[in-house]
Symmetry: C2
Subunit: 159 residues, 2 copies
């Protein structure tokens, strides 16, 4: 059952609800146009990148400027999805399961970086700490809340 | 602009190019069967939960036992996807954009928890730090690598 909508909350139109279908919510601009140039992992002292949110969702950024760090999820659209065991060093010796690696090649090729928010420019976020190709589709933005008091009152199950 | 279709050429149906499809890779077992009982955020001193990986992907866990912490992604299949501005306290006063909240209600309802790996039991992981309902579909498992030396040699773009 869907949650009820509260007074003053706002809705936007979405496509038909289909199980496990993602909608791209924006686009990421980085300095890297070839995979060989991408850093292996983002660094929060790396170059500034621009996270552009599509217009219908611009209001969903309200309050994001209060956070110093964000978790960004993005879609690695050039990855292959059928690799189970990988040889990241290409040495024929060291093999790791896909779930013991942060390689882009995985059943659901979602990239995740914890980035530093530098500033907000309209419907775009300027961040440091990304590792992906220019043009990568954006899936989600989540604030890193561990450094803050929860905004909502605690629930008994919070323990 | 799309190419014109010529006489005798055939088309098939494809997904919208701005969408991506996820495959569930497993199932999460937690003590919580109602949303009101779920903690607001997982805690690494919370109860043990069981992350079951479907059989065809069991080998993808090779080496995961070397890690103390994992990022888990899961699909919040009861969430609504069209909320842009939310009122988490239900007080009619404090409104936040969806991307300034870790609420399950979001355009792509993916949950993300950084969990502590307690032990591996075959194709299941016992972890602490989850916040989701029993039966939640699993999307991805990623090791938290910041505490370790990278396994692959650095690339020039690593900076």
């Amino acid at each position: 059952m869907q949650s009820r909508v509260r007074a003053g909350e706002k809705l936007t139109e979405v496509a038909e609800p289909r199980d496990a279908m993602l909608h791209f919510i924006g686009r990421i601009r980085t300095p890297w146009t070839e995979r060989k140039d991408c850093p292996r992992q983002g660094r929060t002292d790396g170059p500034e990148c621009r996270v552009e949110v599509f217009a219908p969702l611009a209001e969903a950024l309200l309050g994001v400027e209060e956070y110093g760090h964000l978790d960004l999820l993005y879609w690695l659209d050039r990855a292959r999805r059928d690799l189970v065991v990988q040889n990241p060093k290409n040495d024929g010796t060291h093999y790791y399961g896909t779930f013991a690696l942060r390689s882009p090649q995985r059943p659901n090729p979602i990239g995740l970086s914890r980035v530093r928010l530098v500033r907000v420019e309209g419907a775009a976020l300027i961040v440091r700490g990304l590792d992906c190709l220019d043009g990568t589709p954006l899936i989600d933005i989540k604030p890193v809340t561990c450094e803050f008091t929860p905004k909502a009152p605690p629930k008994p199950a919070d323990g």
